[in-house]
């Protein structure tokens, strides 16, 4: 029987430690993992729990991230709780198996500490890896600080393992800014946390030999399409479960989460849409602008990146005059992915607010409150002019000549 931690009401944890404590409290049966910066401490912390009797499950240190997710798939098909952690190149190496995990409807929890993708090699945080996973059929939850990294991991088990969902879930946090910055975190006690997550319910269990199962069958044009459509429906249907798990978590902890977080949006005229730690930076900027200059600025952040909260994004933003969508991933010859998705949602509104795109913070380039304020003011200028006064896609904090693409079509 695993030993328990006697946790304080408020602990000082970084995001990695918060995530690893949540994994421990969930009493995961198998963790198969491979270390990579900046998520390495999650695996190291877990190894420490194993070495000191806090874990009853198996800890399998494999030889690559591809094998980590492969081991997770084999374990998850064998009727128990499974989790792992990764970042960046490790995430990229896992991608093949991410699709296989979701296609087999296995509720694995993957904590992703976001980091840039090479080349050039870079260990700092951006959202390239998170974006790489966006079509993989996983639920993707985003956390903006260490407390949320802890909370989202506990919620992730409940969501993915729900019998109406049975899908794998990623929990994202920003590399270094969240993962390596110690903050106040209020954890649940071990008993409370496990009571919230609950006993694992096996489904199509390979170790139940009274009912043999075949995992990973082949389907060609006769059945593949139906399988993928049903998988998509399962993702879309998970929205209600996510809502109810968040509600239950609020009742237990007082901390409220929504699939789309809106801050200062009731009367906002200009807004920024962002992910990760940038949300808090922008919120600080919005508060200051409201106090200092009376600018009605607000922030909208998809807590749930997948399934994408199309309608909630639309409802949150349809009444602003101008907004900017921030993408922390090299767009690879297109508009930012989040920009495209938010734009599509807003196209279905009668007002169709002015919308522009910033690429920012690649490879860990700092994004400041000052810059967020400048971007809010730029939105105000668009709103006052009644049209986009800059390029539609711009680059924030980039050295050298100003870079931008596409002008608005003027009548």
């Amino acid at each position: 029987m695993a030993k328990k931690y006697d946790l304080n009401e408020v602990e000082v944890w970084d995001g990695n430690y918060a995530a690893s404590q949540a994994l421990r409290q969930a009493q995961v049966d198998v963790v198969a993992a491979y270390p990579i910066t900046p998520s390495t401490p999650i695996v190291e912390n877990y190894g420490n729990y194993v070495a000191n009797g806090y874990i009853d499950g198996e800890f399998v240190m494999v030889e690559s991230e591809h094998a980590a997710m492969s081991g997770c798939v084999g374990a998850a098909a064998s009727g128990g709780r499974v989790a792992t952690a990764t970042s960046s190149q490790g995430f990229a190496l896992m991608v093949e198996v991410l699709y296989q995990a979701s296609g087999m409807r296995l509720p694995i929890v993957l904590t992703v500490v976001n980091r840039a993708l090479a080349s050039p090699l870079n260990v700092r945080g951006d959202h390239s890896d998170m974006y790489l996973g966006r079509d993989s059929g996983w639920i993707q939850l985003d956390s903006f600080n260490a407390q949320e990294a802890y909370d989202m991991v506990l919620c992730a088990f409940r969501i993915g393992e729900n019998m109406n969902v049975r899908l794998p879930v990623m929990v994202h946090q920003d590399g270094f800014i969240t993962s390596h910055t110690a903050q106040n975190v209020s954890p649940l006690s071990d008993d409370e946390a496990y009571a919230f997550v609950g006993e694992y319910q096996p489904y199509n269990d390979m170790l139940d030999f009274s009912k043999p199962v075949t995992y990973g069958a082949q389907t060609e044009e006769d059945w593949h399409y139906e399988h993928k459509a049903r998988q998509h429906k399962a993702l879309m249907d998970s929205r209600d479960v996510i809502n109810s798990v968040f509600e239950e978590y609020k009742a237990k902890t007082g901390r409220e989460y929504k699939r789309v977080e809106s801050y200062l949006m009731d009367d906002a005229e200009v807004a920024i849409v962002a992910l990760g730690t940038t949300v808090e930076t922008c919120l600080l900027a919005a508060k200051q602008l409201r106090e200092e200059e009376g600018i009605k600025a607000g922030v909208v952040a998809p807590r749930c990146f997948r399934p994408f909260p199309f309608d909630m994004i639309r409802d949150a933003l349809m009444n602003v005059k101008a907004l900017c969508v921030m993408d922390r991933s090299a767009p690879g010859g297109a508009m930012g992915a989040l920009f495209n998705e938010v734009s599509a949602a807003l196209y279905t509104t009668p007002n169709r607010p002015i919308i522009t795109n910033y690429i920012y913070g690649l490879g860990g380039r700092d994004f400041s409150v000052k810059e967020a304020k400048r971007i809010f003011k730029e939105q105000l200028a668009h709103a006052e002019a009644g049209e986009i006064t800059t390029d539609i896609q711009q680059f924030s904090g980039l050295r050298g000549p100003k870079l931008g693409f596409f002008k608005t079509k003027r009548s």
Binding site: A67, P202, T214
Partner: protein, 317 residues
């Protein structure tokens, strides 16, 4: 019922059929014989992982399955890791008391072709064996990427023609020798490693049983004659395999704990490799005068390998 009580091949081949006869493998393919033999030689519950390849695409096409036991396929390279993950979960659940039938013995088995074993899945196999998972990995070695139409693998013997190492006016086929996977796996320190063949079915069944009963990671390379790519008549699968084992192109032996080597089959009459090569279309071009030197090289390599195996057996190293 396990093989210990089985007297003859007919009884054995119809025993305890957890691998259904309905599948899409080529007529004359040795894969199904090998798989059925493994599954028939134990009464224990089986969790089977299979790499992408001929076996996988022929036995689990939705909505059908040939597997009357727990079976999983993830990708081309990771059956060893899938089995390892399942085995880890078994240990965790046994410890926590969440297994439905905690006392029923379970064996974990991974199947892969030579493509997924020697090449694309090599790392995954090596990692799983190094970590010491309690499972048996069986390579169905047909010496080419048969599922994708017959391309070279690192198990393809020198002189064989494949679509990506073709024999032609300027080429005698593959230039490189076959990778010695048995030696590589023995060097991992695996407690039981063997090379077996379905024509010697009793030896093969005993080897499988030994692997399944041995705690820790075991590796077995099996010769799986490929009617389609080796180019022989489907009725001749066992005959061709006889030629393979009797020419010593495929010596049958085991290595225990990486050092104790036992030869499990000594042909009464060793035949020339030429006889083996001549029975298959994939080596036909070697019989042109300009390519005869390759046959001589193959014979020399086979003789040297046989000498080495005998010496190792005698010296117990």
């Amino acid at each position: 019922m396990a093989i210990t009580s089985i007297k003859n091949l007919k009884e054995f081949s119809t025993n305890n059929d957890r691998f259904e006869g309905a599948h899409l493998l080529c007529p004359g393919c040795a894969h199904s014989m090998i798989v059925r033999e493994l599954m028939n030689c134990t009464d224990d519950n089986l969790v089977i992982a299979t790499n992408t390849g001929c076996l996988e695409v022929s036995t689990a096409v939705y909505p059908y399955t040939s597997w009357d036991t727990s079976w999983i396929h993830i990708g081309f390279e990771n059956a060893a890791t899938a089995a390892a993950g399942a085995e880890a979960m078994y240990k965790a659940r046994k410890r926590k008391g969440t297994l439905k039938d905690p006392n029923a013995p379970v064996k974990f088995v991974a199947f892969g072709g030579d493509g997924s074993t020697y090449d694309i899945g090599f790392q995954w196999l090596s990692g799983a064996v190094e970590r010491g998972h309690d499972f048996t990995y069986v390579c169905l070695d047909n010496e080419n990427y048969a599922n994708t139409g017959g391309q070279r693998s690192s198990a393809t013997p020198i002189g064989s023609t494949t679509s990506t190492a073709q024999a032609g006016s300027h080429s005698y086929g593959k230039k490189e020798k076959k990778k010695d996977m048995v030696a590589i796996m023995a060097a991992h320190g695996a407690p039981y490693v063997a090379q077996l063949a379905p024509n010697k079915w009793k030896i093969m069944a005993k080897g499988f049983q030994k692997a399944l009963e041995t705690e820790g990671p075991c590796f077995i390379n099996t010769v799986s004659a490929c009617t389609t790519e080796w180019k022989f008549d489907p009725k001749d699968t066992i005959h061709i395999t006889d030629l393979a084992t009797d020419s010593l192109m495929f010596p049958i032996y085991e290595i225990i704990d990486g050092k104790e080597l036992n030869i499990l089959y000594r042909p009464k009459n060793i035949i020339t490799v030429e006889e083996y090569l001549n029975a298959q279309g994939r080596y036909r071009h070697l019989f042109k005068p300009e390519n005869r030197h390759v046959i001589e090289k193959i014979q020399k390599d086979v003789d040297e390998k046989w000498e080495l195996l005998q010496r190792r057996e005698e010296a117990r190293v």
